[in-house]
Symmetry: C2
Subunit: 310 residues, 2 copies
């Protein structure tokens, strides 16, 4: 007999998830809330946000698997009390984040940001192709994810610097640590990629004080969190010429509202929080593991501490 997992997401492909799960465990059926005949049969939910009907309608829920690595999209107060919740961490997330960092770095390195504007203005304005030796890239945050970004850019031939709270060693990457070394790190880069975790210390780190320490004509890529960036400071730094362009994936408010001044700066590319993506093909393994654990009443992989909120 089929067992039902509640599936709820506007951002993920239900078919792709259903197939990836069924390929491993044919008895598991992913079903959206309005197709579920007996709500009492639902013991597990795989979701980005709760369904329109809410979760209280499913009295036997034993576990909730978020479809994101974070849980910022969820209002914890809306979740049924006592039901464990897990974040979803998967190798495909690192891979897609690294891909995005490569795409954004090459966009600025090869002046595609500028040529996008020139094309729309029907302007043909040649600038000689740069060499990588003159385009050092800095990665802010060099843990698992940032380390992977730094190594990939290093392998592609860019001079790479890394900066984090604590000193790290990455072969072929010049590593800086702490507030004291931040100015030297920033002065060494033409482009920074932010992948820091959001903490009280890193909130607002991409602000006027930081931009002032960068070289004139530098670039900013943000795939960390929206709250790392002071958006008005970035706009001012672009208007002042210090920053030449930016590729931003995360924002103080998402979706970024149409009235945001960010959209009005032609030097900024907005992507709608797409840098990191989780592929059902690999992540279904973790989801099934957590399904089994939740039904046995065991702690899930990457369980959220609901008291701490992360």
């Amino acid at each position: 007999m089929k067992r039902t997992i509640l599936f709820s997401s506007d951002l993920d492909d239900p078919e792709a998830w259903a197939q990836a799960v069924a390929a491993r465990r044919p008895e598991l059926a992913l079903t959206e809330w309005n197709d579920i005949a007996d709500p009492a049969s639902v013991e597990f939910a795989l979701m980005w946000k709760p369904p329109a009907c809410g979760l209280s309608r499913f009295p036997n829920l034993k576990g909730i698997q978020s479809l994101g690595a974070g849980i910022n999209q969820l209002n914890l107060a809306d979740l049924p009390a006592g039901v464990p919740l897990a974040r979803l961490v998967d190798s495909s997330l690192t891979e897609t984040m690294v891909d995005y960092a490569v795409a954004a770095t090459y966009r600025h390195f090869r002046a595609f940001d500028r040529y996008e504007r020139d094309t729309r203005a029907r302007l043909w304005d040649y600038v000689p192709a740069p060499v990588k030796a003159q385009f050092p890239v800095g990665v802010m945050g060099i843990g698992v994810l940032g380390g992977a970004v730094a190594r990939q850019l290093r392998d592609l031939g860019f001079p790479v610097a890394g900066w984090g709270r604590t000193k790290r060693e990455i072969e072929g990457v010049r590593c800086f640590a702490g507030t004291g070394e931040l100015p030297d790190f920033l002065a060494a880069c033409r482009l920074i990629v932010n992948v820091l975790a959001l903490t009280p210390e890193t909130t607002g780190i991409l602000s006027a004080g930081t931009f002032d320490l960068m070289r004139t004509g530098s670039f900013v890529v943000n795939i960390g969190r929206g709250a790392h960036l002071v958006e008005t400071d970035l706009i001012a730094a672009i208007e002042g010429g210090r920053i030449a362009g930016a590729t931003l994936d995360v924002f103080s408010e998402e979706p970024l509202p149409p009235e945001s001044p960010i959209y009005r700066r032609p030097e900024i590319l907005v992507t709608p929080h797409v840098a990191g993506g989780i592929s059902p093909l690999t992540a279904a393994e973790t989801v099934i593991e957590n399904y089994d654990r939740a039904l046995r009443g065991e702690a899930m992989v990457n369980a959220v501490d609901l008291a701490r909120g992360y």
Copy 2:
């Protein structure tokens, strides 16, 4: 005593070339035509196009070194009869072409082309990040340059196919050859990068018949020659939905005139023939070698057969 090399280019940096040449041979001075006191002293020219005064004013010219890998920018009939001409081939050219191919591939792979349009329209429209396994890339032309492009994209994790006139073997790349295998090659790709040489057989190869064999929603990158592409066919293929976007570096007419319909398709990025760049730092070696050969009356490296025209 200094010896004078005539330098003529609107696209290359005279200072960077003068320094790179002088670093190896301090007695060689690169000079622009209006700074040359004695035209009879000029025995060698390093140029993109002839200077405004023409070349007939330099009676002792023994060799001309093009600043490009091609000589299409030159009208051979305008060059002084009997003076040998050489193309400039350098490792930095391959490197910058590969970089451009990577930049353009990631631009389409990560939907930056689409998000550029969405940003200007203040639109937030999420699409899940793709996986490389579902984004096979095809390289048209798999000689020295195309082979380097194919290997780099393969190393970055894309499934890569290659197509050329003759069968080649590249590890990890599915190679196709000849007109007979072109349909299978095209059907296998989501994006094609053209780096073919321009011959009568390849002129106009990027045309309606080719686009019709590609999957719906495919992408085209042209870093070969403008004459490979039938521009009106590309526009029609985009309007018909077969081609989702293009990144073009070369055009039937350069600079691409402002009235070109190419500029009016928001799915197309125009770059002003910047894909391949030659760095004076490495290429000065070849220029000096050819200077020596020309003055000794020997055949230059990559000499052009003026009878054949290439």
